[in-house]
Amino acid sequence: MPKMPKVFIEKINKTKHVKASTMQQLIASLKLNPEEVLTIRNNELVTLDTKLSEKDSIKILSVISGG
């Protein structure tokens, strides 16, 4: 059963609840390219295969800066 962790997307400065059991699913449902983001769970950098729980606090940081 997919969870609904809270996700903060820094690029758009918004928090959302997203249905996802893994970080990979979460990135896919936000239609983001994993090449372009860092995935942070409870203030720790994690890989895409990380399993998520309802209580997790997720942050998505954009790795792109300049032009």
């Binding site: 690029k11 090449e35 720790e44 994690v46 792109i64 800066s65 032009g67």
Partner: protein, 306 residues
């Protein structure tokens, strides 16, 4: 699956191979690769005076940190930093604050110059009077000021935080625009011709990806804002970047292959274009240029006439 080298929890999966690394081993991997790049391409020599182009973002902050640590440990070269404030409201003002705080904490001398001070207008104001792309104006004026002040302040090298993604994008942009002579000026050390007016630019992160640099900055705990330039999405580079990252996520290792292929052909490109290349002094400002008038003076003239 744990870290390839120990049993710790991984923080990153490297893109060009199936390895996953924990925080300690990723930081070690990153620093070793930057050092390898410096040695392989002879980027730094004894007694070099290196000016580091700092924006306050992830790449240049990581570069400044690493080169500062190296210069403290080895005492073979010296470093200072320079920040160019283009005048981009809501972006550069934030990263400038981070840059000043970082240099203060690390006791690094930081020089700051601005478009407003040098050209009389911020980039935001220039764009109201110009049909040029923001990245065209920004890039030309930034490179102009970096070279001018690196030379005036007595530095013999300028280090930039350009990473593997930046370089792969530039290579493809030049290919798509049939601009091989511009590609001949790329590489881990830029430029083709020797001149006391042109300060060589070095890129110690040439073999490290944008994501790896971002991860390193995050894991090192640098106090930086992970933010995008508001003009970035208006440039040609943006479309090439999105396209390249889409290909990379489907075919991992593509960006590394672009760089590896390019490095094989770079000596041929340099040899081919060196014969016809010339480095003159701009008749208006005396800065180095391949033409009679440098691109910065051409753009400034356009801005005055609009």
């Amino acid at each position: 699956m744990p870290c390839k080298n120990c049993k710790e929890k991984p923080v990153i999966q490297l893109t060009n191979n199936p390895r996953k690394l924990c925080k300690t081993h990723f930081i070690r991997y990153f620093e070793k690769k930057a050092l390898y790049t410096i040695k392989k391409f002879s980027l730094i020599a004894k007694n070099d005076k290196i000016l580091i182009a700092l924006s306050g973002g992830k790449d240049s902050t990581a570069l400044l940190y690493l080169l500062n640590e190296l210069s403290k440990n080895k005492k073979l070269f010296s470093i200072e930093a320079i920040l160019i404030d283009e005048g981009i409201k809501g972006y550069r003002d934030k990263t400038k604050k981070d840059a000043i705080a970082f240099c203060k904490k690390e006791s690094i001398k930081l020089y700051i110059f601005s478009y407003k001070q040098e050209f009389g207008l911020t980039l935001d104001a220039m764009l109201k009077h110009s049909n040029q792309q923001p990245c065209t104006l920004c890039g030309v004026f930034r490179r102009y000021l970096l070279n001018k002040y690196a030379r005036k302040l007595g530095f013999n090298k300028l280090a930039t935080g350009h990473n593997l993604d930046d370089e792969a994008q530039s290579i493809l942009m030049n290919q798509f625009r049939r601009n091989n002579s511009a590609s001949a000026r790329l590489g881990p050390i830029t430029g083709m011709l020797e001149s006391k007016n042109f300060i060589k630019r070095i890129k110690p992160f040439y073999l490290l990806t944008e994501k790896e640099t971002a991860a390193y900055s995050f894991l090192r705990g640098f106090s930086i804002t992970f933010t995008e330039c508001p003009y970035a999405s208006q440039g040609y580079r943006w479309d090439v970047r999105i396209w390249l990252n889409t290909i990379e996520s489907k075919y991992p290792g593509t960006k590394h292959s672009v760089i590896a292929s390019f490095l094989e052909t770079l000596p041929l490109l340099k040899a081919h274009y060196k014969a016809s290349a010339s480095l003159n002094s701009c008749i208006t400002c005396k800065e180095p240029t391949s033409k009679n008038i440098c691109q910065a003076c051409i753009l400034l003239k356009e801005l005055k006439h609009v």
